[in-house]
Symmetry: C2
């Protein structure tokens, strides 16, 4: 198990079968985790993970309001994605758009009472689920290892991103994790 690779690392072009198996396990498990959390959030509070990310940011914002572009930066979404999503959330009365006094191009996104209530109802069950399915599933050592893996992989990703100006670098990520 410790030496399934006859050739030295540097000489290989492609992952071995075992490496590929670990890769698949890893990425699929992370996905399953996300989709389970998303499903619970949805069934317990009728919020999508995107909704949650937006509400979380607004809840923490000064006066429960934020400029649209700041919000986009905060949760790391593309502006058009946010715009579409805000439209849907506004229809459901979770947020409201107001004109911005300082800059009349801008919009201020405001948390509505409905939105605040939805968020408050969602938050404890959601964090409990994170604890149940992630934190408590792991030993302390595994939790540390998870943090270590994340840091290592992120370092590689951003190095690679810098080298090739990857457009997709971190696009979909940093979204709905709260």
């Amino acid at each position: 198990m410790t030496h399934d690779t006859p050739r030295p690392r540097r000489a290989r072009q492609l992952p071995t079968t075992e490496e590929l198996r670990i890769w698949r396990d890893f990425i699929e498990t992370a996905d399953t985790l996300r989709s389970e959390l998303t499903a619970r959030l949805q069934s317990e509070s009728s919020l999508s993970s995107g909704d949650y990310a937006v509400l979380l940011a607004l809840n923490e914002a000064e006066g429960h309001r934020m400029r649209s572009s700041e919000l986009a930066a905060h949760i790391d979404w593309e502006r058009s994605r946010l715009s579409h999503h805000l439209g849907r959330m506004e229809r459901r009365d979770l947020i409201r758009r107001e004109e911005c006094a300082a800059d009349s191009r801008g919009a201020e996104i405001v948390l509505t009472p409905t939105g605040l209530q939805s968020f408050r109802q969602a938050t404890v069950p959601h964090l409990r689920a994170v604890r149940e399915l992630f934190v408590d599933a792991l030993t302390h050592e595994q939790l540390i290892a998870a943090g270590d893996l994340a840091a290592t992989l992120r370092a590689r990703l951003s190095a690679a991103g810098r080298q090739r100006g990857s457009a997709a670098q971190a696009k979909a990520a940093r979204s709905d994790t709260g």
Copy 2:
């Protein structure tokens, strides 16, 4: 760093700040990884990760053909998702649908020459990217730890899924990892 939790684990309801940080890092990094791989696949071969999953399955299938429902089971997609996706792939001449002799309700999905060629062009760069961004980023110990984490988390997920018949259990996962 080893004891940021005064209260015993069992007494806690919610994750600590540090646990939440690790959780976010972990899940966001996995997402970033997926999105980087997807972006590279797209730019190098004009295939989405969904396309790749379908083509991979067909490429390995007997005669480069498979019943639609088997294909869905193999890559673990919902049937309607597959149906929609096959429609799009058929328009691009990557696959073809044929009537099934044995069961006239059924459809056989066949890899076209175009589809085969696209897949072959995509596969080596894709695996190289997996190696660069995942396998080679990690030490051997980290790789083992990744496999261990995946197994542990998956066990918890399927236990939780069994307990509450979660509909979303592993829906989006196991898709496009190849």
